[in-house]
């Protein structure tokens, strides 16, 4: 039996298995298709084979980072959640995925990375809290610049800046997209019948972070919450396929969670708190000690164990030190 492929993805929070849309899409698809994956949840993208998250490391030591590539790979391994779709449903699936990419994704990038309040209070804070030293100083800023650049290229406008006008345009497209998705879903459990497929994974991946995170500027979130069928669609998937991650929202804690229980509120949960405290203390102590040694406040006197050729010189040297 071949070893399962390894999936490196972002850690989870807010009741989700992961905070990143692309990771959620891959995780959801893997659950729907029953693909066994060895999960490596982390908050340091530099530790993944490709430097980006999500990354799938296959048995042939290939690294795939695009969700569509990962899904195609899993399909080739016979883990196909779209197996039961008719040809027309497959075509609709492709069309609605394109709708998500063109109309909703720019608004999501804006909401999490460009809108100033959301970025500072939620996104940057989460990444800075969870990334190890010293990445937490520069990597969130670099990611933000990358996302802004991406938004500029998607819109074809090099001078794009955060602002009310841009927000209105993007949110108008996104609201229309959400309404269209809601109309298509209707009162069904999943988009095509009773079992979920890749479109369900894409929709879940895009909507779940908006639904679950606590954003200060939350117009998109409010609209999504007002669409009952989409909200219950996401909650349903969390309940059925990610029960241990949804434990914060859904009642009694299960005992199989390996992560430490949250200390205090969500915002105060800093991972590896004890380790960081000890490390800070050690660094401070080391800094003070090296300052003392270098300026000569403290000196280390070396006792000679074997007879020295000129004992007189060393004796006068020691005398001078004692005078200080």
């Amino acid at each position: 039996m071949a070893a399962p492929d390894e999936l490196f993805c972002w850690e989870g929070d807010w009741g989700l298995p992961s905070v990143s849309t692309d990771c959620l899409v891959v995780l959801a698809y893997a659950q729907f298709a029953g693909a066994p994956l060895k999960l490596r949840k982390m908050s340091n993208p530099w530790r993944s084979p490709s430097g980006l998250l999500p990354t799938l490391r296959t048995n042939q030591k290939e690294s795939l980072t695009r969700p569509s590539d990962i899904i195609i790979h899993l399909r080739k391994q016979k883990y196909n959640a779209d197996y039961d779709l008719s040809a027309k449903e497959g075509a609709d699936s492709l069309a609605f995925t394109s709708l998500l990419e063109e109309k909703l994704k720019p608004a999501l990038i804006y909401t999490f990375w460009v809108e100033p309040k959301n970025y500072v209070d939620v996104t940057r804070r989460w990444y800075a809290d969870h990334m190890p030293f010293p990445l937490n100083f520069f990597l969130p800023g670099r990611m933000q610049r990358g996302q802004l650049e991406k938004l500029r290229l998607l819109r074809g406008d090099e001078g794009l800046e955060a602002g009310e006008e841009l927000e209105k345009e993007l949110y108008r497209d996104a609201v229309e997209c959400l309404n269209l998705l809601s109309q298509r879903l209707g009162s069904q459990k999943f988009f095509f019948g009773d079992s979920p497929c890749s479109l369900d994974a894409y929709v879940f991946g895009h909507l779940a972070p908006v639904l679950k995170s606590k954003l200060p500027n939350s117009k998109l979130q409010q609209h999504l919450k007002s669409l009952d069928n989409l909200s219950s669609f996401c909650s349903n998937i969390l309940l059925l396929y990610f029960p241990q991650d949804g434990r914060e929202t859904f009642g009694p804690k299960t005992s199989c969670s390996p992560a430490a229980a949250p200390e205090g509120g969500d915002f105060d949960h800093v991972p590896n708190k004890r380790r960081k405290q000890v490390l800070s203390a050690l660094v401070a102590l080391g800094a003070m000690l090296s300052y003392a040694l270098l300026t000569g406040m403290v000196s280390i006197q070396q006792e000679a164990l074997q007879p020295q050729p000129q004992p007189m010189t060393i004796g006068s040297h020691e005398d001078e030190d004692e005078d200080n």
């Binding site: 695009r66 075509a91 492709l94 290229l153 006008e165 209105k168 298509r184 209707g186």
Partner: protein, 259 residues
Amino acid sequence: AGLHRVFDLFTSTAAEPWPESATLYQPLKEDQILLSDCASSLAVQAYLRMCGLPVQVVCKANAEYMSPSGKIPFIHVGNQVVSELGPIVQFTKAKGNSLSDSLEDVQRAEMKAYMELVNNMLLTAELYIQWCDDATAAEISRPRYSSPYSWPLSKILAYQKQWEVRRKMNAVGWGGKTLEQVYEDVSQCCQALSQRLGTQPYFFNKQPTELDALVFGHLFTILTTRLTSTELAERIKSYSNLLSFCRRIEQTYFEDKSS
């Protein structure tokens, strides 16, 4: 920004009838225009013909710079300038012309989704083939794009545009694709369109909508444009209902054109 301005003007000008002097601007047809721009322009022309709105096509070398959003084509109607198919559809709707009013909500959702499919896959593939495939870029795209300008401006503008498109391809995740993968994506897109069309004359009922105009614009242009390889046209030709769809629209709405 252009979209926002256009919506502001709607309330004051919705009542005005469509003038005879409406013009559509695009780059020079013989020497300059590229596949993707030609497809977008043909889509708008088809849409306006389907609505029964007359428009004159004017070719200008600097059409791209005249456009409010930088994209081709754009129309000049009365004292407004609107670019790209989406905003133009909204604009004509405000004037009382719409092809998709009779659709039900679920159908309208599908129509919009399939239009995004064409934009997301077909248009992106066209841009990729034009600017990211070295052979096509060197033989066709760069010379054509810079043909109205003299050296060294021609070289600068051509390379600038190529660099801009390549950055966009990277941003949407197409940067790492091979040409073969792009052709596969085009096939997949055509298969989805062919599936949706089935044996019907148009995508929704017996009446054409903006989706039909958009699909016609892209497919017809690909079929009738000479590129470095015929692979792209071959991929479309394998779907016979799409071919007869293009022929039908050409005969119904463009029969007065000699091409």
